[in-house]
Each structure stands twice: as structure tokens, then as C-alpha cells.
Symmetry: C2
Subunit: 178 residues, 2 copies
């Protein structure tokens, strides 16, 4: 950020009065521009004994497998964001069952919500965001070709929890060191 | 947003290629400016049979009672944000017990995380953000002077759950109509 988006004056970085962190501020119109973590919402769709994954058609991690998920938009709930992303990336309509993994990813300033979801019918297809969409049994999971640590976590939790028949919320903090 | 924060050109609102929603875009340097919901994190601190509330010293809802909570900063986990806000607003050091209410507030584009927390000692004080900080028993709660619906929800859930001795996560969606 170089210029004030309200009046086009050059931005200064300083601690505003009453605040305790440096912010992008405008010396002319006194605007303060806050930058905060973003929410990513998605789901782990389950059909019978299989999970639905999407091969990413876009960077980052193009060609790697992920769960359908993406940035939450204004005006949505986290549930609506997860359903929309699943529709957009996999052309799949799911029923959300419960919030399953909740991950603060501090080095990229994201908080990720992954819901456990039921895919009622094996109906899905590729999209502009997914090169391939398919169902995987536990034995078929491409562990070395998963896009993100959060995807691996959700799958590991799921296959473990399935043995016990209970799917509690898993809360995780990922930092750049892990 | 009127001007591009990278090059100070006047902003256009249009749907970028490959996107499906109108965004603030720059016709000169092609920057796209996304605006997403923000996370508010805080806690409901419990000391013996009482809860800690803060009387707001700042707008909105100046003079009304709230739980310590505020906007999550870059580089934090949601847990760290809740602890920091409790320290800043009530000068209190708490131990987070579990995520307790998770609320999408769609008309203000916020997702609020309230943790249930233990206040080990009755040690707290006012701050630049709180005119008064005090412990309330259930009978003393100022129900008509609570700052936000999310505060009322957290307190209602807590006093109900306390009777049962179990404190599950409560997920809520608030829209402008409620």
C-alpha cells in the first residue's frame, strides 16, 4: 500500500492515537487502513466410504489435490462460504454435518474452517478451478500430492475418527516453522 | 475506496477475469482489491460462580457491557487474539478452556470467536477501552445494558450449560433481521 485509497496522498506507517500497532495511515485525510487475517471456508465431502478431492487448476499448488475451499466473501456465513466453494470448485451440492477442523495459519494470516460434509449423490465435475475431481478411498489418497498441510490434517483426522465413529472439532495452530 | 493504493489511479468496480463478483480494480496497474469478513476474538472469563464483563469506553455501544473481545491481528492465532484482547481491555490473564460460541454476523461481515476462559485470580482493572470491569453473578447481569447480541448469547448459553455441567461449542448465524 503506497497511496491513500480515499484521497491518493502518499501513505505513512505510524501508530494511530489510541492504538498500539503501526498502521497504514493517511497524513492528509487521517484514514487508517487495517489489514486483518482472512477466513478460508470449505469442506471434506464424504460419499459412502470415499472422500472427494479436487486437483487444483490454479496457483498456488497447481496440480496438487485439495478439499474444496476458498476465501469467505462479504455477506456470507462460514457455512454459506463452504457450500459455495464446494459448488464452484467441484460442482457438488453437499450437506454440512459439523465443523471439523479449525486452523489458524499464522504465517499466511488465514483462519481455515473445514466442515465435514455428506455428498448425497456421486455427482460432481471439473470447473475452472479444478483440473480433476474424484472420489478416493483411504488406500487411494495421494498423500505425496496433497496441496496443503490443512488438507493432510483433515484427511488424517477423518480416517482416524472414522474408526471410532466420532468426529469432534479439531483445533490447530500452524506457524511457518511446522 | 476511490484510488488505487498501489499507483493512485481512480478505481473501477468490475468483475475481474476468472472471477464472478465485482471487485475494486485498477485500470492502470491491474491490481484487484479484495475485501473480506474480519475475525473478532475474545472470551467469557469465569471466576468461581461469576463472569467478568467490561463497560465499553469506546464506540460503538459506549457505556454498555461486553465480554473482552476485538479484531484479530496479523500473525496471531485466534487463541492469541482472545488472550491479547482480554489483557488489553480488562488487564486480566485468563486460561482459555474451549471455543464456546462461533458466530457469523453477516450484516457486519464479522465472524466472532468467544472462548470460555478461567480467570484464576480476581485480578483485573479498567483500561483505555473499558470504563469499568467487574465480576457479575447470574442474578447481577445487566441484561438491558449488554453491548451486543453475541454477548447476550454467550451469557445465556453459559448459565444454561452450567446447570448441565457441559459446555459444547455453539454455532450461530446472525443476520440484520435478527
Amino acid at each position: 500500500m503506497k497511496y491513500c485509497s480515499n484521497c491518493a496522498t502518499e501513505i505513512e506507517i505510524k501508530v494511530p492515537e489510541g492504538d498500539n500497532l503501526p498502521r497504514h495511515t493517511c497524513p492528509s485525510c487521517d484514514s487508517v487502513f487495517y489489514v486483518n487475517p482472512k477466513i478460508v471456508a470449505g469442506c471434506l465431502p464424504i460419499y459412502e466410504d470415499k472422500v472427494l478431492l479436487c486437483k487444483r487448476a490454479i496457483e498456488p499448488r497447481l496440480g496438487y489435490w485439495t478439499v474444496p475451499a476458498g476465501f469467505m466473501e462479504l455477506g456470507e456465513s462460514t457455512e454459506e462460504a463452504a457450500l459455495r466453494e464446494t459448488k464452484e470448485e467441484a460442482n457438488a451440492s453437499v450437506e454440512l454435518q459439523s465443523l471439523y477442523t479449525l486452523t489458524s495459519i499464522t504465517h499466511v494470516n488465514q483462519v481455515q474452517f473445514i466442515y465435514l460434509a455428506k455428498l448425497p449423490k456421486p455427482k460432481f465435475s471439473t470447473s475452472s478451478e479444478s483440473l480433476e475431481v474424484r472420489l478416493f478411498s483411504e488406500e487411494e489418497i495421494p498423500w505425496d500430492e496433497l496441496a496443503f498441510p490443512t488438507v493432510k490434517n483433515a484427511l488424517c483426522f477423518y480416517f482416524e475418527d472414522r474408526k471410532k465413529g466420532a468426529y469432534p472439532l479439531h483445533e490447530i495452530i500452524l506457524t511457518g516453522n511446522k
